[in-house]
């Protein structure tokens, strides 16, 4: 299927590796064609609504209008963009007065019927299907804590449980990794307040990191650039708060997909991660052949999905 791809601002700066790895994965899958929305604009993140109630919907409307012209559902990989755009899509379909008011401020684009907005985890799990991901190199030995953060499943995600989602966990199992069960998968990292209230934000992120580690994870999978930035770039600070010395790689789920699909690693941007995953990978996924064979629990190419006998 074809999707109108809305990268979002972070994908061009702090989270370039998310953008690149997701595009590479989509290209290899073939069933998830990402067509970038030409000339997209910022979604306004959390500040837009604080400045003006209609502003986040208006910023989203311009992007939604372009996606509507493409006759495709929108895919937004950043959790904050996803939430804003998804919310606006619902609001604009339900509130014709607001829609008219916003359309009046737009020159070259108009929204008639706002398209659906999807997160790529939703698309991979529910459209592509985890069993259709071609696994060339199973992620043996990786114990992955899937960290959804707040906005992939809240407030109106709809594709998974708001408190205890399992989509990303299912994907990780299909890739050959062990999905670590933990309590903090949708706890907030404090991303939206880290510039104004850094200490609280770091306290929240430190809790997330500590819980992932305590659950036995040796890597964390994320689908949000802010979660990734806080847990990865600031991991030394989080360690200082908890007096720990964790060295836990924080990877985008698309990077883990790319690894399992045997994609060219240069395309996955692994070297951009502050906490390097290379030592972990050499000890697990890239480990000695006989070891990795021993660790394999089932057939490498088609791991079982949850719910299958």
């Amino acid at each position: 299927m074809k999707y109108a791809y809305f990268p979002g601002c972070s994908q061009e700066s702090t989270a370039k590796e998310y953008n690149r790895s997701l595009k590479a994965v989509a290209k290899r899958l073939g069933t998830m064609e990402l067509v970038e929305i030409a000339d997209w604009n910022c979604c306004g993140a959390t500040p837009a609504a604080a400045v003006n109630a209609a502003l986040p919907h208006a910023l989203a409307a311009r992007n939604l209008a372009i996606a509507e012209e493409m006759s495709m559902d929108m895919v937004a990989p950043c959790a904050a963009c996803y939430k804003n755009m998804n919310k606006a899509s619902h609001v604009l379909r339900e509130d014709p007065d607001l829609l008219a008011r916003i359309n009046a401020t737009l020159d070259s684009h108009q929204v008639e019927h706002a398209p659906a907005v999807r997160h790529p985890v939703d698309v991979v799990v529910n459209d592509v299907g985890v069993d259709s991901v071609p696994v060339e190199k199973p992620l043996n030995g990786l114990k992955v804590a899937s960290y959804y953060g707040c906005l992939i499943t809240r407030p109106e995600g709809g594709f998974d449980d708001p408190d205890y989602p399992v989509s990303m966990d299912r994907l990780m199992e299909a890739l050959g990794a062990e999905a670590v069960d933990w309590q903090y998968k949708t706890k907030c990292c404090g991303g939206a307040i880290y510039m104004t209230t850094e200490d609280i934000s770091f306290a929240l992120s430190a809790d997330v990191l500590a819980h992932a580690k305590a659950a036995g994870a040796n890597a964390v999978a994320v689908g949000c650039p802010f979660c990734q930035l806080l847990l990865d770039l600031y991991q030394d600070k989080l360690n200082a708060i908890k007096n720990t010395s964790f060295d836990l790689p924080i990877l985008f789920f698309s990077q883990l997909m790319g690894l399992a699909m045997g994609l060219d690693r240069a395309e996955l941007g692994l070297e951009r991660l502050v906490v390097s995953p290379f030592k972990l990978l050499s000890e697990t996924v890239d480990g000695p052949e006989e070891d990795s064979k021993k660790r394999k629990k089932g057939p490498a190419r088609k791991p079982k999905a949850w719910g299958e006998a």
């Binding site: 601002c9 604009n41 306004g44 400045v51 707040c150 906005l151 809240r154």
Partner: protein, 186 residues
């Protein structure tokens, strides 16, 4: 919930508070929101979300709008998805921020962060992180720059910092949209 009338327990409030009072009128103070709130648990709020709900019902407009809580809410929606009365608590916090900004309540950091962020989006059409960091810290605490140097170096080495802003073609349309709704920024 919209059909219920808000029964105000205390002082007369402004017209802008009415929709917020109606949204929160059905709160029966169970405290589920506070139990779900990670920021309250970390000690980042002067009033818990439950207390804010009650203060709105009691007509404590001044106290609510000058609270720290409305600015430290992380907008994670943990409260809203759990509320047994279906109150959009997170959106209420945002509406209160909006009102506090319009009325000129102090909250220096929140004001500088939110308005700088949106002024950058208005001008460039997209976020330009380096400018946000510079503007925010210049206006709040320039001494922060010293502490930011190691982070900036790390980000540059990892290619995580954008040196120049991106400029979508439709910048004038984006600016027109801003000005049409807000009456112009800056």
């Amino acid at each position: 919930m919209g059909k219920l009338k808000a029964i105000r327990l205390g002082a007369e409030t402004s017209a802008e508070m009415r929709p917020i009072e109606i949204e929160t009128a059905v709160c029966y103070q169970c405290g589920t929101c506070t139990g779900a709130c990670p920021v309250a648990a970390a000690g980042g709020m002067d009033y818990t979300p439950r207390a804010i709900m009650r203060m709105i019902q009691a007509g404590m407009e001044e106290e609510v709008l000058s609270s720290q809580t409305i600015w430290t809410c992380a907008s994670c929606y943990a409260c809203a998805v759990r509320c047994p009365r279906d109150i959009e608590i997170t959106d209420v916090m945002t509406q209160l921020r909006n009102l506090a900004l319009e009325r000129g309540y102090k909250a220096r950091k929140g004001r500088v962060y939110n308005t700088s962020f949106m002024n950058i989006v208005r001008r460039h059409g997209r976020m330009y992180e380096a400018e946000l960091v510079v503007r925010y810290n210049l206006q709040t605490n320039p001494l922060n720059f010293i502490g930011l140097i190691p982070v900036a170096v790390k980000m540059i080495l990892k290619g995580k910092l954008r040196f120049l802003p991106d400029h979508p073609e439709g910048r004038s349309e984006i600016r027109g949209m801003f000005d049409g709704l807000t009456g112009g920024a800056e």
